[in-house]
């Protein structure tokens, strides 16, 4: 793994096979004294979603066009089903949603890209579908948090299964504790229809605990699926 120490003339850079490879090469060329560990490179899907969410926060009009909107979806604007997750009501709403997505996204994408993509896709579709069916009074929906919850349960479920199989009980306890913590928080949301520590009144949106429930279930189901393909990046 000492490829990065090689100096390559800039004029001879070959077309990179992936963004990851490109980043490695570029950084390696410009700062040949540093070795950039592969684990430091942000996986492209996570990076893309994070940048998109941030960019949409800067454009109220684009957010309006991309948010989940019941009437618009019924009128055929189906992209809103997926893109609604990347829009947010305000910066406060985006902050924790984005931070958690970035951390969990990097870990999940690097750990099992196929499972990661399946989890995202399933949650991205199932959450708006459940909102459509079960919350008919809710016209619009925004936010990454449902996907965050899906990634959390998928990652936790995967690690838990792994540690259970390896009989590493200390790890099992830690991961199970974290899962119980998140489960309790979701239960609180479901029963109170509110959120802890998030001022949704000032932020002016209605909390949707259903999104977290559906996201969590989607993540667990994906985590329980048999191995899809060789994990990426490992």
């Amino acid at each position: 793994m000492n490829l990065m120490t090689k100096e390559t003339p800039m004029t001879n850079i070959e077309c990179p096979r992936s963004v990851e490879e490109s980043l490695r090469k570029t950084i390696g060329i410009r700062a040949s004294a540093f070795v950039i560990p592969s684990s430091f490179v942000i996986p492209p899907i996570t990076l893309g979603v994070a940048i998109l969410s941030l960019a949409l926060m800067c454009s109220a009009n684009l957010s309006e066009i991309l948010q989940f909107d019941r009437e618009a979806v019924a009128a055929g604007q189906l992209w809103r089903v997926v893109t609604g997750h990347f829009t947010h009501w305000n910066l406060d709403h985006l902050f924790w949603d984005g931070v958690v997505f970035a951390v969990l996204g990097v870990l999940c994408e690097r750990r099992q890209r196929g499972r990661f993509m399946l989890c995202l896709t399933a949650a991205a579709v199932l959450i708006p579908a459940s909102v459509w069916l079960l919350l008919p009074e809710l016209n619009t929906y925004r936010g990454l948090s449902g996907l965050d919850t899906a990634l959390f349960t998928m990652l936790a479920g995967s690690i838990l299964a792994e540690k259970w199989a390896a009989r590493e009980w200390r790890w099992v306890t830690i991961i199970a504790g974290l899962m119980i913590g998140l489960g309790s928080k979701i239960a609180f949301e479901v029963f109170t229809q509110g959120t802890m520590f998030v001022d949704t009144v000032t932020a002016n949106f209605q909390p949707v605990p259903l999104a977290h429930v559906v996201g969590a279930l989607a993540g667990i189901v994906v985590a329980m699926l048999p191995e899809l393909r060789a994990p990426a990046g490992t």
Partner: protein, 710 residues
């Protein structure tokens, strides 16, 4: 009574009880069977508007130009929503300040003087606000000087506050509305919310306006002779960039304080995009034939319709004793439909009595469950008395999602009824005068309907011993129309103001802390306004209950204590202090007037100081940049507009009143109403904990794998 001025100030109730036409007033006429000619020698009006509360002091000198004794009839229409706070007249060269006493007692005193031909002055109010004052005798060539002070809250429409000095409301054909003497009006505007513009739609050429600072503006008009038959209308615009509250206080050392809290919707509230439904109900009863009220109403509806978009739907109705509809269904506000409506309205003629109830009942049937219905009533409110209670009951039974807006037309409108109808219906009342710019009013009204209101609004004050808050129930907050809350407080202390409501379906709850002072002599006018609101509320309760004597004792106590003329208390002016003593009438009003005048003089002195400061900045001290701007403005035209003059002084420091201002974060319509998941810090930390655990696990795994490889 020889050579003595005897005044009879007689308040005249306007005959809405009989459905009659309002005997509104103009200026001065020789009357009472004696004939004669009277002239107004001076007519001086001083207006101070303190955060939307206007105090108007009218001082007039009349002269008998004949060589014989005449009796004068002074007619004066106190404008909409005003409360007469003082009446003085000069007897034997000395100002005699009137006192408010319980109505029956005042009448008894008055009658006792009449029997001995020594007439006191008496001002009564039986229903609402037009009164006549008889002055007799005015000797040959003699002068009579009088002073009337009244308080009113100004109507705000889309940030524009309109002040009307009513001169046009004349129903007596023999009143000479020309003055041979001086007419002067000065207006001082103090506002915590910066004043952005000031204009007069009625006398734009005659007025000179200048803003000495962002929070203090002055306008004046002076003329020698001329026609005073037009209402004098001044409007100023205040803009609050962000939704918030402004509090001003009045606190003497020896009694509990008073506060006025103003809640204003800020610019950050965006317009709602979805269309709404409108039913315009036009009063075409006989009373609307007076003073061009039908024409004014018709033009107002045209202006309303013009401002509708095609996403809106509308219907037009007219009513007198029967109700007539145009479409029998809501129609999209297209050009063609608007044209049909104009034709329909043009064909209307004012005749018959006024029965409003069937029209409102019919309008309610236009309610669609998924759209907001706005019922806009244009009327002078001269409905049958027996119908008023039924109307209030009907308003209370309106379908959800509907609001009733009342537009009072003309100066002699039944303001209390229209105001109460609108307030009870979650809407609001606006009042149009002949000289108003009804296009602007209509557009402002339309914008107000479009703006997101804070619904189910409640304000809680905790701390500082606040009590007796008026009004007890707040209406919705509309954009451009601030809400005012009055109350008392026990001592100077911090107070927490909590605003609770609903903005476009989302809850709003926010608390801000303000500090109320231990002494504040700057705003005495809010004391009377607090009492006036309390009186209005008590009288409204009595109207709802249909019991005229309900709350009477409390109303009389407040009226006597704060010098408020009402249906239960009248102003009486006696000849000298000894007469007041004889009748055991406390000189409460005189004491208050003297105290208020002293306080107001201090305020005027402060304003004068500011004026001097502003003047000192003119001339050679101006820097090049200012001079360049001024010259550019001059180059732009021979007569710079008020706005330009305002702009030139925009940068001047704003003197602060004794107030407290706080902003409130009201969610804007562009970012709300929907749902979303939210990761809170706890969930975030749990997730980050999982991330850390995953990394640690992975590192440990690699380490173990490395050991195995070795």
């Amino acid at each position: 009574m020889s050579a003595r001025t005897v005044a009879i100030v007689l308040g005249v109730a306007i005959g809405i009880l009989a459905g009659g036409r309002a005997q509104a007033a103009g200026l001065l006429v020789a009357d009472g069977g004696f004939g004669g000619v009277l002239e107004i020698k001076e007519h001086d009006v001083k207006v101070v508007i303190n955060n939307g509360v206007a105090v108007t002091e009218v001082e007039q000198i009349f002269q008998n130009t004949e060589d014989r004794i005449v009796e004068a009839l002074y007619t004066f229409p106190v404008p909409k929503g005003a409360s007469v706070a003082n009446f003085s007249m000069w007897i034997n060269g000395k100002e005699m300040i009137g006192e408010v006493v319980e109505k029956q007692r005042a009448r008894q005193i008055y009658e006792s003087y009449k029997q001995t031909r020594r007439d006191p002055g008496l001002l009564e109010q039986i229903d609402y606000k037009t009164f006549e004052m008889r002055i007799f005798p005015i000797g040959p060539g003699a002068e009579q000087r009088i002073k009337v002070t009244y308080y009113q809250e100004l109507d705000f429409d889309h940030d524009w506050a309109t002040y009307v000095y009513p001169l046009a409301t004349v129903t007596r054909s023999d009143i000479d509305q020309r003055t041979t003497g001086k007419f002067a009006l000065t207006l001082d505007v103090k506002s915590e919310v910066p004043v952005k513009a000031l204009e007069s739609s009625s006398h734009s050429d005659e007025f000179v306006a200048v803003n000495h600072s962002a929070n203090y503006v002055q306008a004046s008009l002076e003329t020698d002779g001329g026609n005073l038959s037009r209402d004098l209308v001044l409007a100023f615009k205040t803009v609050r960039p962000q939704t918030g509250i402004d509090i001003i206080t009045s606190k003497q050392t020896d009694e509990d304080g008073y506060f006025m809290l103003t809640l204003t919707a800020g610019e950050e509230l965006a317009e709602m995009n979805q269309g709404m439904d409108y039913v315009f109900i036009l009063d075409v009863s006989g009373s609307m034939a007076n003073d061009g009220k039908l024409r004014l109403s018709r033009n107002s509806v045209f202006a309303f319709m013009d401002s509708l978009g095609e996403e809106d739907r509308f219907e037009v109705m007219s009513f007198n004793v029967t109700t007539d509809t145009l479409f029998d269904g809501l129609q999209a506000a297209t050009g063609e439909r608007k044209q049909e409506a104009e034709t329909f309205l043009e064909a209307q003629r004012a005749r018959g009595g006024t029965v409003l109830r069937p029209a409102i009942s019919a309008a309610y049937r236009y309610q669609d469950s998924d759209r907001t219905l706005n019922v806009v009533i244009l009327s002078d409110g001269m409905t049958e008395q027996k119908e008023q209670r039924e109307l209030l009951q009907l308003i209370g039974e309106r379908p959800s999602g509907s609001r009733v807006f009342c537009v009072g037309v003309g100066n002699d409108v039944n303001r209390p009824l229209l105001q109460q109808l609108a307030e009870d219906a979650g809407g609001l009342a606006a009042f149009l005068s002949e000289e108003d710019s009804f296009e602007r009013q209509a557009q402002a009204f339309r914008r107000k309907l479009m703006r997101p209101a804070i619904r189910d609004l409640r304000l809680r004050l905790t701390g500082a011993g606040s009590y007796d808050i008026e009004p007890q129930a707040l209406p919705d907050l509309f954009h451009g129309a601030p809400l005012r809350l009055y109350g008392r407080y026990k001592g100077g202390a911090d107070v927490a103001v909590t605003i609770v409501g609903e903005v476009q379906g989302s809850p709003l709850e926010q608390t801000v802390a303000v500090s109320l002072p231990k002494i504040d002599p700057n705003n005495p006018e809010i004391e009377r306004m607090w009492a006036w609101h309390r009186v209005q509320r008590l009288m409204a309760e009595a109207r709802r209950a249909g019991q005229t004597n309900k709350n009477k004792d409390e109303i009389v106590r407040l009226c006597e204590g704060y010098s408020i003329v009402s249906e239960y208390a009248s102003f009486i002016v006696l000849e000298n202090d000894a007469e007041y003593k004889r009748w055991q009438i406390d000189r409460r009003n005189a004491t208050r007037v003297i105290r208020d005048r002293a306080d107001q003089q201090k305020v005027r002195d402060e304003l004068e100081r500011l004026r001097q400061q502003a003047v000192a900045q003119l001339g050679p001290q101006r820097d090049r940049k200012e001079a360049k701007t001024a010259s550019a403005d001059r180059a732009a035209g021979p007569s710079p507009s008020t706005d330009q003059r305002f702009a030139q002084r925009a940068s001047r420091p704003a003197p602060r009143n004794s107030s407290t201002s706080r902003d409130i974060s009201v969610p804007s319509s562009g970012s709300g109403g929907g749902g979303g998941g939210a990761i809170d810090p706890i969930s975030g930390l749990i997730a980050l904990g999982l991330g850390g655990a995953a990394l640690a696990s992975r590192r440990r795994k690699r380490k173990n794998e490395g050991k195995k490889d070795e």
